[in-house]
Symmetry: C2
Subunit: 346 residues, 2 copies
DNA sequence: CTCCTCAACTGAACCGCTTCATGGCCGCCT
DNA sequence: AGGCGGCCATGAAGCGGTTCAGTTGAGGAG
């Protein structure tokens, strides 16, 4: 009743263990005939390679790692990670590579996990998400020699290959769109300021606004929760020069902002335009449905996974751009009503 | 520059590999003094046990598996899984056990994954979620002999230990609450009818309603998406005897339902009361905030993980009840306004 | 002083697979 | 005929641990 091993197959086929190994791994060294016979026997007795034995003899662990470093309550809310994971899985399934997942509270713990995983030979590589400015994980992983791919702008990825999409271009698209609708006071409710992509967006936002004659462009930083999104919105909408449009860094905050606006008796989109980011099903469920920046997150997850697998397999490196994001206008954006907003702001 | 092995430690300590193994695993067979010396050396040269080698010699894989069997787009929306996962992780971290995650499209694929994982010695056990009526996974896992814990009602878990919470009790709490508010037409927008917990809720819902004099209690089944939740709500609210309260099987549908109601110019909660399930941050972000059934999902994830670890370690089995859910009233429920709803329904 | 016991430690086998050095066999070239 | 190169296949040596059967030496009992 024990699991069959190649030794069992060898005995039944009347060949040596070595031959069986060659046969089952598509290596040269056995005749086509013998190979088929061996494969048939393996099939018949339900043989499966023992992963431990295989990776012990220097081969791969056939698993990659993903560490998420945000408190549980933030993780749940953002569909982002789950979608990303399912995209990664799609790609991994093809190579029958597994995904090891770990959720940790901070970077220190995350680094410890990489150390352990790599030290124990548990994974062949890892995907680093949520790149920070001066991210401490990058040098550690580099020194460890563990293959890794970063999701985020290459500028923070050191020598590690990065997969990213051009956020500045979409942001420009968003602001040009809002500016074209007549908005001159556009606010941004951003995510964690420590994140590299937040910084990049911050900087681009201010530049692009200036360039397009958007005179007021305040930015509020949050932790991505609906709660903080709501609070930031409340503050922005209470200011003297109330913005006529707000761009949010995720959907949950956009929804929270929408609720706050309605609570304050502002009509969306007549009095206030709202743009979400990382369009999730949530955007389509609320009224009005949210104009949002959308991109195929599973696809970009698959893209990252593919890059990592290639890196592991052939050392092929190099950053490459993932699928682009784009603006998807829905019901929460409209032309700025000059008279109305100005009169109110006075 | 290669990773140190116990052989290296043995050489430096002037003892045999066996002694090192005993020392590092807290086994008897070495003196306290030697043990300390060996541990110090291990520490110093940064030794980590090679997982593959360890599990090859019959020990554990130090990993458990979790397979999610829903399309990517459903997974992302439901904070449920991510919260559950982070709860599981909390528990696993303590035993430095890893989590293998896989997302598959159907049960057949899921079963194949279990076969592979168990065959390859990749995991020590698994957590089965989303129990179906006559779930095909249960007998397969039983026959495989793989330790597994089911999240869901024990009635469908066969000989596998189950961890569940008493849904019927909460459902009763919800309906009693609504009935006490004067609601006599309560609808339910349920999830996938194939899921065991959907069936259990369905049955209980109809019984409890009958018992409490709730004369109308239609049920609509959906796939948990906001889209279908919206459609079901629209249909229910268009019926001649419009319900005065709707209970949803998840939050995203409750939010969708809320939007539909507002679109149809119904006031929530004056004209329609709404109750969500598995309270997520989403419920607090919309206006009015949603009355919902809440429970500590991370805690129940941790609970499941703990049960599985115990099962793996000591074969200790037995189903046990997890943390209970309870009703959390917020702004989306109110007394039924008889005149108003009746006059409209005519 | 001898015998026995027990703790401390050693040496080797083993887990299941990969891989390399080796060798037999066959056919072909010179 | 002899030599050589290729193809198939074998046997054994690892990979890095665990574990079990022994060995050794010290200490206590008789």
């Amino acid at each position: 009743m024990k699991r069959p091993t190649i030794a069992d197959i060898a005995k039944r086929a009347g060949v040596s263990k070595g031959a069986v190994s060659y046969a089952l791994n598509g290596q040269p060294g056995v005749s086509a005939e013998t190979r088929e016979r061996i494969q048939a026997i393996a099939q018949e007795i339900g043989w499966r390679p023992n992963l431990a034995a295989r990776s012990l003899s220097g081969a791969r662990a056939d698993a990659i790692g993903l560490v998420l470093c945000r408190p549980a309550r933030f993780l749940g809310v953002e569909p982002f990670f789950m979608e990303m994971i399912s995209g990664i899985e799609d790609e991994l399934a093809a190579s029958s590579c597994a995904l090891m997942l770990q959720v940790v509270p901070d970077h220190e713990a995350e680094i410890a996990v990489y150390r352990r995983w790599w030290g124990e030979g548990r994974v062949d590589g890892a995907i680093l998400v949520d790149l920070h400015a001066d991210d401490p994980r990058v040098p550690v992983v580099e020194r460890l020699g563990m293959p890794a791919v970063v999701t985020g702008h290459p500028s923070g990825a050191g020598s590690l290959p990065a997969v990213w999409s051009d956020e500045v271009a979409v942001l420009r698209e968003v602001i040009e769109y809002l500016a074209a609708l007549g908005h001159r006071r556009i606010a941004r409710v951003a995510g964690l300021p420590a994140l590299l992509h937040t910084r990049i967006r911050d900087e681009a936002f201010s530049e692009i606004c200036a360039e397009l004659g958007v005179t007021e462009h305040p930015v509020a930083h949050t932790d991505y929760t609906g709660e903080q999104g709501a609070r930031a919105t409340r503050r922005l909408l209470s200011s003297r020069a109330r913005p006529t449009a707000i761009v949010y860094d995720n959907d949950i905050m956009a929804v929270a902002g929408l609720s706050v606006a309605q609570e304050m008796r502002l009509d969306v989109p007549a009095d206030l335009s709202i743009v979400g980011w990382d369009d999730s099903p949530l955007s389509q469920v609320v009224r009005p449905s949210l104009t949002a920046v959308t991109r195929d997150i599973p696809a970009s997850g698959a893209h990252v996974a593919r890059t990592l697998l290639r890196l592991i397999e052939s050392g092929e490196t190099g950053s490459l751009e993932g699928p682009p994001a784009r603006l998807l206008p829905r019901g929460s954006t409209a032309p700025a009503d000059r008279d109305r907003t100005v009169s109110r702001a006075m």
